[in-house]
């Protein structure tokens, strides 16, 4: 191997800014009970956070709580607690960490994490969402609204699909009005959607900048800084402004020819969620090879903005419905994801695909062996498949992962050398 690759150790404004915004939101949540504000639980994937915002319902996201607990190395005791209560070791650990938090006394009235007043299950692809929110409703006694979003199984959403979702959104508005006493104002929703569209545009521009060589940030590991603002805070002016700052910063890096590492040797597309309990360790396994993710699928769970879709203030409910139905990763089939990745590999000029298979998440993972087959055999894209978990540290085997990753990049490097020699 040539000169060792180092990280630039440059967190930049984006990281700090994102942290500030997310902390402010969590502060609001912590005060919500005392201030008598209505809270509503939502899932990240293809969510309708704009609608809750316009209805004056403060959104809360159990997935964010679960991933934060994993990053802080607090997930295992919670998972174990849930398993003692009967949850299977084979169930999605996100749910277990959330239920474990309740069982440990960390969630509920007067606790650091309040119970939501309203539970809006945006069933957008993931069937575990249905279970999770049934369980949350069971422990909290909160009203559960099942927002059933038909899966993307036709070239375009059918008229019946859109009508069905819009009808449920209207019902949800009435439900929120009952909770908050605030009369819904469509113009307020239009305003929220305009902020959302601006943030979506910014996020898409950031990701587009990763087409540069080197990419200015790692579109897998660093995208997390943008996923809070885009998925949780979407629809606020602050989130939209955040992306203006991000675009400026990344464009500046592109101008200076800087990326997240001292050298970008391999450009990868990463598929699957990250192992939150070992985020940094996992990243290091790639950094040392100079491997930078120039695109990732996980960064599109909330919405796929890079192909141009934006919320439209002129068609408020319809565009929310369209986004939930089609413009996000989770409500699309796994084979549609193959095509998403294929475009990433082609348009972002990637050298390889890395599939991080997650035991918890069958939505992402079930069948990724077929995905590998498609990319290696049919397209000839070098593909690495490694396995661990996004929440449960017991499934992270570093030595094994290192061996697989090292062997893969060694082979890739060898291929590069050979290719260079023949030209």
């Amino acid at each position: 191997m040539a000169t060792p690759v180092t990280e630039r150790q440059y967190q930049g404004k984006v990281h700090e800014h994102s942290r500030r915004l997310m902390s402010a939101w969590m502060g609001e949540l912590a005060r919500a009970e005392a201030e008598g504000r209505t809270t509503g639980a939502l899932m990240i994937s293809g969510n309708c956070v704009e609608l809750l915002r316009a209805c004056h319902v403060l959104p809360m996201f159990p997935e964010v709580t679960a991933l934060q607990n994993a990053i802080r190395h607090k997930s295992l005791p919670l998972i174990l607690k849930a398993e003692q209560a009967g949850y299977s070791s084979d169930n999605c650990a996100y749910v277990k960490a959330d239920m474990g938090l309740f069982l440990e006394g960390g969630m509920g009235p007067g606790k650091p994490m309040p119970f939501p007043n309203l539970i809006v299950c945006n069933y957008v692809g993931c069937n575990v969402y249905v279970k999770w929110f049934e369980h949350l409703a069971d422990i909290s006694g909160a009203k559960l609204f099942m927002l059933d979003v038909p899966f993307a199984r036709t070239p375009e959403p059918t008229a019946a699909d859109v009508q069905y979702v819009v009808g449920q959104l209207e019902e949800l508005i009435a439900l929120c009005e009952g909770f908050t006493g605030h009369t819904f104002d469509i113009d307020e929703l239009r305003e929220v959607l305009a902020h959302a569209a601006r943030a979506e545009d910014g996020y898409a521009r950031c990701k587009d900048l990763c087409k540069s060589h080197p990419a200015p940030f790692d579109a897998y590991f660093d995208s997390i800084n943008m996923m809070g603002p885009i998925n949780v805070l979407r629809g606020t002016r602050e989130a939209a402004d955040f992306f203006d700052v991000a675009v400026a910063e990344f464009a500046g890096l592109v101008g200076q020819g800087l990326g997240p590492l001292s050298e970008e040797r391999f450009r990868t597309v990463v598929e699957g969620p990250p192992p939150y309990p070992y985020y940094k360790n996992f990243r290091n396994l790639f950094s040392k090879w100079g491997a930078v993710a120039v695109q990732s699928t996980y960064s599109t769970v909330g919405g796929i903005w890079e192909w141009g879709f934006r919320h439209d203030p002129a068609r408020p409910l319809e565009s929310i419905a369209e986004q939930m139905l089609r413009e996000n990763l989770t409500n699309r089939s796994i084979t549609a994801r193959y095509q998403q990745i294929r475009r990433y590999v082609d348009e972002w000029k990637a050298d390889a695909l890395v599939i991080h298979s997650i035991k918890s998440c069958r939505l992402f993972s079930a069948g990724q062996g077929d995905m590998r087959d498609y990319f290696t055999r049919e397209l000839g894209v070098p593909t690495l498949l490694v396995e661990s978990d996004l929440e449960d540290p017991r499934y992270y085997a570093e030595a094994q992962l290192r061996n697989r990753i090292d062997a893969f990049f060694e082979a890739l490097e060898h291929k590069k050398v050979v290719a260079a020699g023949t030209h």
């Binding site: 009967g86 059933d148 038909p150």
Partner: protein
Amino acid sequence: MTPEQILEQCRDLVGQPLGAVAERWKAERPGGRVVAAYPVWTPAELVHAAGMLPLSLLGGGTSVELTHADARFQSFVCSIAKSTLELGFQDIVKGIDGFVFSNICDVARNLGSIYQRNFPGVFVEYLHLPQNSTSPGVTAYAASELRRLAAGFETAFGLTLTEAALTKAIEIYNVVRARVRALYAFRIAEPQKLSTTELYVALRATTLVPPEQAIAWLDALLDGLPRRDARPRDRLRVVIEGAFCEQPPLGLLEVLEEAGCYVVEDDLLLGWRWFTSDVPTDGDPFERLGAAYVNQSVPSSTRHEGREHRSAGLIEKVRRASATAVIFMPAKFCEPALFDYVLMKQGLERAGIPHMIVEFEEKMWTFERTRNEIETFVESMLFD
């Protein structure tokens, strides 16, 4: 025919490769088409109304070795998904023209599209069945999804599916389901005369033949079984819950009874007896069937029901069948069953109903540990 002769026929049919079942039916009907339905519920009525044969698609059971599918699906995925894909790779479903999957879980969802990618020559449809049970627009949506499936059949196979034919199909499947309900009621009343493996095999065979044949078999069983000579034994009356998708091996069902249980209710092949009462046949049949899905479905781990707690249906089943306990029998890695286990178990505990859990895989072949566990459970209950 005697019940024994019918059960023998059923056992024989269930043991045959699915493709062979399809080919034999097609041999007598040139140009005929066969559509296989993955669990849990698929509107067999639509398949029948289009003049095709609906078949249950239930994985490879104990007989199919995985040679391709385990490279596609990881170790933490249930067996039925893998072995169903394997059926395609090994041509065991050759002769089947269409496959229908639905949104029962994330694995089945991915399986549907992976099936389509690997076998582009067959018709594959994925249904999104409603998970919202109370909104005003749900029934209209459900009807539209059924119409979409019908249109898919028409385009793919160049046939016509009329409303009149669908009404007739609903009528005949109402008869099948009523007979199955009667058979279940008979087992509740006299479990000593109909073992669970017998009931299972008979029921499974009815998912491999046209409804007319199913009715003939069921009628003969309902007629002959009461005359069986069997004395009731001192056994624990139990309900099986959680085996609605992947099929437990017959050996496991046998062990339950050998270890001292009468299984008086279960959720085996649940999708083929999905409605609690007859589906109305007046008016638009798509709307009737869609509305029945929303309002007349049995409780199921794969369908959200906003009007009652997860455990309510199970508790009601226990009471209706005069059962004493519940044996949870989820397939290994079956997310819907394993999640529901927690809420159901809590509900049972509140209602004072004892329970135990036995996980299985379709290829499980030793049952000794399970036998011991069940025997201990039964003893603790019977001699308490």
